[in-house]
Symmetry: C2
Subunit: 318 residues, 2 copies
């Protein structure tokens, strides 16, 4: 299928067309330029999808929670996409996925699009491919896109940068409440969910979190991140999570923060495409290059990194 | 003090001069260009410092192990620097440090330079400032530089990218053996240390690790990462760790991998300085800019990210 066919197929909600376009993103295809140009006009006309990032340490019940949330959103008649992003190791290129099978509850529902995406890291990795996949899903008419990250640490912070609303999952007995807070989780969460709330310690996790959030209070007019208790396996509390996600979207729209976040995302996206193109000229992708020669000179003590950077910019004609 | 004075002071091993230069790095001072040019010639003449990255989840005994390793390296007459890097949250700019006090064992030893460095993230963060701090410490005549990261996840991978030798710490009872392996730890470790080896489960951690490493075998001629058991608090096993670090340096030199790793580091460093300079032109640092205008157009659906990236490169004259 040609790019115009794929784009019009995706617009009509054909899951195969959507899947093919996301494969082009994942493969960092040269066709992406044409795809993105063809998708841009739809951004103007369509009510845009609400992008919800879901993050949390392994073991908190992220998959089960995502699954339960999809059920809840479908009940409200929304078209939903789940994008499971695997930041992989930059070294092996291996994927950590495999547990995606559990989304089979929704596998036959045409109103749900589910896709795992590995960031192969040839170019900009997660930060490069995810926003483009979001554009495809947006154009395909999704109301809500759940972006679930496999992994911890920096990838969580990156997901927050890509989402309109970031949901942070915690669970009792993980011993990581404080660690999570330290790792910057407090600052990225718009909504906190204490899952496995039927287990001992759930109230303690919530209490602890509440104290930490009070300390990190962002002041008058700022969004106050709510804490919801759930048992995702039974669906308890999930309706409340969906309601809080919707409430946050309302706040984002009223406060002007939605446009600010989306503009910031567009900036990052434009910049990373530009950087990728420059890297190709410097030879980050192909064999030996100007950059290699300069690095040799720095290692040999014949040049310093600043002088080398000047030379590199000269190569660009910049 | 002027830059030439600071550089010559650092060359003479004056800890205040070294400290001042690292502050310039941390503050992303415009003087850095002059500093780096003045340091470059020393890279040619000096036997370079061995950069050892130390990583591991919170609670494995990273600080205690670093401390014990310094004692051991001092016993061998080496000049040692400890650079504790805090990748911070990109959102708050807050520091997580404070436990650096425990390095007081070595506070009065003129052969040991200890410094915490927060990555404020104005420009390129950790990846931008750490290599420059390493250049300063190298020029100051350190034999070994221990780079200890506070935090988990992506920052560990970044440290591995900056080090000649990466030491990964584990401990029994952390429940994170498998998680660590998943997070790419296996691939970045040149040396694995199972600390708190007097506790139950240490042999199990080692056995598990050994199995994982066997699966990830890099083949003929490749470095086989050893596993050492320690009790850092008492010093047990630390001499063996120091010996393995030295053995790895020998392998790096013989195999040619040392030059390859250092060249790769220099490439990354040059590139990030060049990118920083371009970002300044695009207005990543100052007010509204060409990039802002382009991002608005993309959000409004009037342009797409690829076309916007082209426009951005036009601005650079590239």
């Amino acid at each position: 299928m040609s790019v115009p066919d794929l784009v019009s197929g995706a617009r009509d909600g054909d899951p195969r067309a959507v899947g093919r376009l996301i494969s082009l993103v994942e493969d960092e295809s040269p066709l992406l330029r044409e795809v993105m140009a063809a998708l841009a006009p739809y951004a103007r006309t369509a009510r845009r999808a609400h992008v919800v990032g879901i993050t949390g340490s392994p073991g908190v019940g992220k998959s089960t929670s995502t699954n339960a949330l999809v059920t809840e959103l479908r009940r409200a008649g929304k078209r939903v996409a789940v994008l499971a992003v695997d930041p992989s190791s930059p070294f092996s290129g291996g994927a950590l996925l495999g547990d995606r099978v559990r989304m089979q509850d929704h596998a036959l529902d045409p109103g749900v699009f589910i896709r795992s995406m590995a960031s192969r890291g040839h170019l900009g990795g997660l930060a490069w491919t995810t926003p483009q996949a979001l554009r495809v899903l947006d154009a395909a008419g999704c109301d809500v896109i759940l972006v679930e990250t496999v992994g911890v640490g920096q990838s969580e912070v990156e997901v927050a940068g890509l989402a309109d609303t970031t949901l942070v999952l915690l669970a009792p007995g993980m011993g990581d409440g404080i660690q999570a807070a330290k790792a910057g989780i407090l600052e990225i969460g718009d909504l906190f969910v204490v899952n496995k709330a039927d287990r001992d310690g759930a109230d303690e996790v919530r209490r602890h979190l509440r104290t930490m959030l009070a300390l990190a209070d962002r002041g008058e007019g700022a969004w106050k991140a709510p804490i919801v208790k759930t048992v995702a396996a039974t669906g308890d509390g999930v309706a409340e999570v969906a309601a809080e996600i919707e409430r946050h979207l309302g706040w984002l729209e009223e406060s002007g923060e939605l446009v600010r976040r989306r503009t910031r995302r567009a900036r990052d996206e434009i910049e990373s495409i530009a950087l990728t193109r420059m890297r190709a000229r410097w030879g980050d992708v192909h064999g030996r290059s100007e950059l290699d020669e300069l690095a040799d000179a720095v290692v040999a003590g014949e040049s310093d990194p600043y002088t080398a950077a000047d030379r590199l910019l000269d190569v660009l004609g910049a």
